[in-house]
Symmetry: D2
Subunit: 298 residues, 4 copies
């Protein structure tokens, strides 16, 4: 596809850049994950990317992690339709995510389960530590899980806007003695970036995960480190730059801020990730990464 | 415009719904603000909306608040262009936000100023308290400011993803003895919603601010309150529902979750807010709100 | 607005470019009109633009002209909703255009009326001549009409894809002895461009009207004329360049083809025209154009 | 993919609907083709779809056919970039189509070649006849061609907006004694639809090709035939319904007009066709269609 035009070519280039990162010896691959990817069925692919170390760090919305835990605990999302009467769905206790359905009651089971787990936790911690604590205490039924794969593979997960999700809701329901200090997330992720010889970024969607990974380069520079910007960059997005938001902004714009290296290999694919991600993952099958970073110090 | 078709009609309906909220006696109006609205020059309009109490609560990205403080301290954003060489901009220390420029050095002045202020702060607090503390300590030159208008008008501002912004960066640079507990944001905003007879929402963009306001209804219900969902709802967005993300999802979808009342007056306008917001604000001139909520208890 | 950012600024710039064209003495202003602008209520604005000679030539989809004739004959489009059961609408004989409704039966009256008029016509003609013939034979009730305003103001209308519209359908129903030779449209519009000292273009949407006006520069060059490309260019569109289509392509791309002058004043506004066009028209009120081209030779 | 969510699911459903059409015995499959698909490298796929009779009729923009002829005559499109100085490209005689380049001079060779061929033609004809005449007279070097595949497979091609393309330009350059009567296109395509037991439609993009195929059902009904609307419908598009245009409108809207059967199997995939079409075509490999319509009478 890299030899066609328009977004088909971009998708081909994304594949080439990703595989080039995997062949490199000293690159840390940071993935940003936003959009309702887990309800849309992308959960197993992300877990598989983690277990194969096609990515090294995950920054995710809280929602994707909540929905992942939902499935890890044995519940499911269902194929629904966007052409429905939402008032009726409400009466029947069905929550809709575009064309995906789920039972409100089952969500509530997870809400309260998480609230219980959180009630047992103590201290001030980053969202990464918080998520590891949860992963370690979950009674998991389906291990094709992002949270579990990351826990077992020592891939750190950050969720700097975790209050804005059902995990945050669960925390608000808990008898809470834990505080999630998301500024510590900034510090931890910056440390990972500073300690990496090179970094590559893969953004599925935009939102907080994209910006949060992007800004690490700014933090590092302000802390006095000589960083060069991310050197590989892929984004799969349905946003565009014209409206000025960070989700849709070009990697070129990121160069002006020093977030992306002026010499980076970079591509943005305008496509729903539910199409682009399976195509990319299909291409990655069989590739074995030789060397990847190990995070013991965190 | 409400008598035309397509998005022109939606914009007309948005105006009608907003003015209807303002005529109501017992409605709390919650605004979500995302996208680079302040760099794009929307700062004075938002400050003016706050001072006239056309809105009662603001949930914002950290970036908009940082850029607002930047201007409040006497610095400026400049009219630039998206057709530029970003490598050169980087060399010249100019940061680009689509067609808006700013000086990296001036941003850094604010980064360090905020870091100093934050170094003086102590304790665990919500982002609302944190932002009020900052507003109270700023040495302001230009009072056409969102943060200052809100501080003076007692309009609470929440920024639940504050770590993901230059304010979060400043906090990471500080000798930090303060912890921002964003789960407390969930609790505080839910309390405001629970104590309101009715709520109306106005989303400029989507992102965390939209979802965070939406989810208060879910939290309230899980805490045992009998809430009915937001009863007025306006969104100005350039996102669409087809890709399943929360930013672009319809208010109808929100009905299935109980976030939006099945009987709500609701409209979504597909338009860049830099066009739609000035048009709406222009129409609001001269309208005087009779009664609005006062938040003493927070 | 021209001093803000993002699409708000673009809209401000569009206004500045349009007024600059109107102040120029020797510029021919060509408007391309696509999208269901007439059903959406933009008809009176377009007719007013024509009568005030804020534009000199119109290239339109056939549909907009059909719907204009529909209203000129005394029928109406109605405010409907996009949240409906379309099967029921079909049973009730209501045609839907997003949130606008119309009666199928009333459309059919116009279909047959036009078929009768067309049955009286003879010869081979351009779509411009064909549309003038129709305008001259219509028994009009509402003169706030694009077709009538153009006829009376001697503003030529071209519709090079006229077969693809209800006017084309009417022609297919007629006892037809007329042939619409749209290649003649190419020749006529190129002649207008060649005989103009300067040209400016205003595209409402993209589609055939945009490309058809753009390509005149290529035709002129191939015919041996020394043309410089359009020197003013405005587009209001909801398309983007990333997918490679002509509707969304940038004016910069047009420069590579020589369609747009390298020195042209040009801007593209990403916004639904049902919002942008009324705002622009509102700004034009009171501006009087000193000099405009007169097309006697056609 | 049909078991995921969002546009990934839609793409899966599109595949299922297409293969179901191919298994049907009495369905005529009409493809609409718009957007710069040939410059983007989709030419061989379309030609392959035609030769395998995965489609029976093609309605295309003139541009795609021109670019196909360009390659059939031995010229090429080249991989370029959208990050370029278009003024320089103009000076160097390179035409840009987003990230695809071509030599203006080579285009001109085809312009004049076609002008010569057209100068030899006589009479009044539909665009289908016109295109067959051209195909029969071309001195072809590369037979992986849409126009040639269609000619050899007796798949009719219509181009009702042909004046709006470089083929139209060539006609305007010719010593022309031929007239393309696009109203005849309406008549011919309606006849095909009326004579088909069932019809299915596949729209790559929107534009004139989509509407032109859609409207055949309206023409047939007005001519007194008892048609039921297309019974299978697929669209791959990057447009959305919110702005009211026909390119982005839903198939549900088409149901209200009787263009699409209320019982049709229908799906719209929001995705650049340069991604979706290769994925679909890849899935079709090996499927052999048992029975397809033969058009001798045209």
């Amino acid at each position: 596809m890299a030899r066609t035009g328009f977004q088909g070519r971009k998708l081909g280039e994304a594949f080439e850049i990703w595989t080039e990162m995997l062949r490199e010896e000293n690159v840390t691959i940071l993935m940003g994950l936003s959009g309702a990817m887990v309800p849309a069925g992308m959960r197993k692919i992300i877990a598989w990317l983690i277990r194969n170390r096609y990515i090294d760090v995950l920054v995710s919305t809280g929602a994707n992690l909540f929905h992942d835990i939902h499935e890890a605990m044995g519940f499911r999302h269902f194929m629904g339709s966007e052409h429905v009467n939402d008032c009726k769905l409400f009466e029947e206790g069905i929550d809709r995510i575009h064309d995906v359905f789920a039972y409100e009651k089952e969500f509530n089971v997870i809400d309260y389960t998480l609230a219980e787990i959180i009630s047992e936790m103590r201290g001030v911690m980053s969202s990464r530590e918080f998520l590891e604590e949860i992963a370690g205490r979950l009674n998991v039924k389906d291990r094709n899980s992002i949270v579990i794969a990351a826990y077992e593979s020592k891939v750190p997960i950050f969720s700097p806007a975790i209050a804005d999700s059902s995990i945050g809701i669960a925390a608000a329901l808990a008898k809470r003695e834990v505080v999630i200090d998301t500024i510590r997330d900034v510090e931890e992720l910056t440390e990972i970036v500073v300690n990496s010889e090179k970094t590559g970024v893969i953004y599925v969607g935009g939102g907080v995960p994209k910006n949060f990974i992007q800004q690490t380069e700014v933090v590092a520079r302000l802390k006095g480190y000589d960083v060069r910007g991310h050197e590989y960059a892929i984004q799969i997005t349905t946003d565009v730059p014209q409206f000025g938001g960070l989700s849709g902004c070009t990697f070129e714009e990121g160069v002006s801020w020093g977030k992306i290296s002026g010499k980076a290999k970079k591509v943005q694919v305008n496509c729903d990730a539910t199409i682009a991600l399976p195509v990319l993952a299909h291409g990655l099958i069989g590739i074995r990464r030789q060397k990847y970073p190990i995070f013991n110090g965190l």
